[in-house]
């Protein structure tokens, strides 16, 4: 299940993408540069189709910085996953990161967020109970 396991990189995995029922749980373990971020994006979108996932959780709790490219990629992943039929939740954004993201004026409008993995799973199972899980979030309520 490790998205990076078979890559040429000798070092420890930078991200892991695990399957949990109909959900994918992707954890980013360390700061990624732009090309790593792009590879993470294509790996993840790939796996959504492979596992027929209905929900994706991206855990960024280990990151203490998230640059504009990173947050734009996360937003794009959310959008792409929606096109492939999965709801995406970003979890574990640290206070400093949240502050930096809004101070830099990043458009975070369409990202679903939750405090941590547990909350993210709760959010996804709630979303699954709705008649149309693909509908965008009710603004400000979730």
């Amino acid at each position: 299940m490790d998205g990076k396991g078979d890559e040429v990189d000798a070092g420890p995995a930078l991200v892991s993408i695990l399957r949990q029922g109909s959900y994918l749980i992707a954890s980013i373990h360390t700061a990624l540069d732009d090309s790593e971020m792009e590879r993470f994006q294509s790996d993840l979108i790939d796996q959504i189709g492979k596992h027929r996932s209905r929900g994706v959780i991206i855990d960024v709790a280990a990151l203490d910085v998230l640059d504009s490219f990173g947050s734009r990629t996360l937003r794009n992943i959310g959008e792409m996953a929606r096109l492939r039929g999965a709801v995406t939740v970003i979890v574990g954004i640290q206070p400093d990161v949240a502050l930096a993201m809004v101070e830099l004026g990043m458009d975070t409008g369409k990202i679903h967020t939750a405090l941590d993995l547990e909350e993210g799973l709760a959010y996804l199972s709630e979303a699954a109970q709705l008649s149309n899980p693909l509908s965008p979030p009710v603004d400000g309520e979730r």
Binding site: I90, I111, D116, E119, G140
Partner: protein
Amino acid sequence: MTESQAADLEGALSFPALDRQDEEQLLPQLVAHLREHRSRLRAEWASRIQDSHLLQAMTPTEMGAETTSVYDNYVEVLETGSVEALQHYARDLSERIIPRGVETHEVVGIVLLLRDVLARSLFEKYQRDFGLLNRVLDAYEPAANRIANTVAVSFVDERERVIRQQQDSIRELSTPVLPVRERLLILPIIGVLDTERARQLTEQLLIGIRTHRAKMVVIDITGAPDVDEAVANHLVRTVDASRLMGASVIITGLSPEIAQTLVTIGVDLSKMNTVGDLQGGLEEAERLLGYR
């Protein structure tokens, strides 16, 4: 401008080099004179303070003790030329009298009175020899100016320190993040919001969200007297950042004036969830959390 006036001005900062020798000979004389007539001069000074209605926050006993210490410190500075001990004393004194409402002009006033009293006694002593009197004043004035300067600066420094300290404690007190029930926080904003405070407030809120695992936050701005564009933008950012942490925000307590101002200056608050008052905000939050 005469030469002595010029020297006088300069003396406020340093002893003029020309007078070094004179000073060395004359200052011990002055000091001896001032020590000899200590009780008379001090009493005169104290009565002048009374007449000018200065330091009325202090009792006569305290006044006696403090004037004696100031007098002794004053003479000591004349003798040694070092203001360190005086600085120390002035800071200590300020610490004691600032909480009782003593103003800067009073402190400067009493020092200038003492300077005046002592100068008059020197006039009296040396009035028969103008040349000598001139030299005596040349030696006395710079030192006296330095003393007045030191006391005033020490007092103002101490005052500023106290003000800074109070500002810090107000700042800390004024941004409490309060858990009301599970997953629900209130953040009452009281007082003027400036950029620094808004930033600090956002930080505390985000940390609060993580600690309490909050899903809803009610920010109540009833206590904020004025909201301008900058503050409104801060609020929008706070809402966005909280959302990134997985918590939604309800803003309550927008006064009619603030509501009108915000719409008039055209701040985009469409993303903000607002409810009229804190009570309504809490009810709405509880509804969204599924408590009712």
